[in-house]
């Protein structure tokens, strides 16, 4: 959190203030907006915030929620894994069948798949926006 970080920067700049630079202008605008928010809504929000009293669940119920959710995630993972293995074995069986039937078709399918994978990877590398990280 960098609350009120603009203030110290502004104090350091106080001595040479005759001609405000763009940066100083930006900081004073920010301070102005912060002051405006304080005058408009900070106190009502503080009062409301203090009055909110949620029903906090007990330690036992949260522990139970954690255990059951971990169980759900684990079973979901196994389901996805089994699905993946199923699809994988289906594809491999199909490819083996194609390989024994015609080598040319097999090579064509292989090259086509590689090309498509390359294209998808290339597109994904351009689409950086929207990628989300949960690792703070």
């Amino acid at each position: 959190m960098s609350r009120r970080s603009g203030k110290s920067i502004l104090n350091n700049c106080k001595e040479d203030r005759q001609i405000p630079s763009h940066e100083q202008q930006g900081i004073s605008d920010e301070q102005e907006r912060e002051a405006l928010f304080q005058s408009l809504a900070e106190e009502p929000l503080n009062q409301w915030d203090h009055s909110i009293a949620p029903d906090i669940p007990s330690l036992e119920s949260i522990s139970q929620m954690i255990s059951s959710h971990k169980e759900v995630v684990r079973s979901r993972l196994w389901r996805d894994l089994l699905l993946l293995w199923g699809i994988g074995s289906f594809i491999i069986t199909g490819l083996m069948f194609v390989l024994y039937s015609s080598l040319q078709v097999f090579l064509f399918v292989q090259l086509g798949t590689l090309g498509a994978a390359g294209l998808i990877l290339l597109r994904a590398s351009f689409r950086k926006e929207g990628r989300r990280k949960w690792t703070h």
Partner: protein, 190 residues
Amino acid sequence: MTSVELQAEESDAIIGQAIRGDEQALARLLRDHYAMLYRYLLKVTMNKSMTEDLVQDTMLRAIERIHTFQRKSKFSTWLISIGTRLYIDEMRKKKRERQWQNDEQALQAIRFDAAMSNTEWHDALDALGKLSYDIRLPILLKYYYGYAYEEIAQWLNIPIGTVKSRLHNGLKQLRKELNSDEQTQRQVYP
């Protein structure tokens, strides 16, 4: 060592245990941050039932991802970032948006709760409630919670310039809304 330092060290140890897979430590962490998360989401959504759903979803997501928490920020900040992203996802899903369209009713329920706890309901809160979610969110994150532009831009998945313009326009809208409320009051009670 002061009590604050001791507390910080203790909470650091609990976070470490939770990351390593200790369910009891994670449960304690989530319970300790429950009220903070609830208050944040209620202010952001202005909708009690949506807040309850989002708090639950945030906790479930935190359980799934706790091993990825790298302690670069506070645990509370991490939870807020998860909650914020889940809220944005909810609002972007058109179906859910329609489901939560009954904003005025939701706001009335919150007003009722505030009245029950003898808390004065200011016009500023109504004005905040009238702002659209994508403007209210950066205003609260920046000016109430004090997060940096970079963090807000990352969580909202928008450029920093857009965050700044939303803040600028949002505050202007807030002031306009409050001024018009004041004028209406003056006309009713001269």
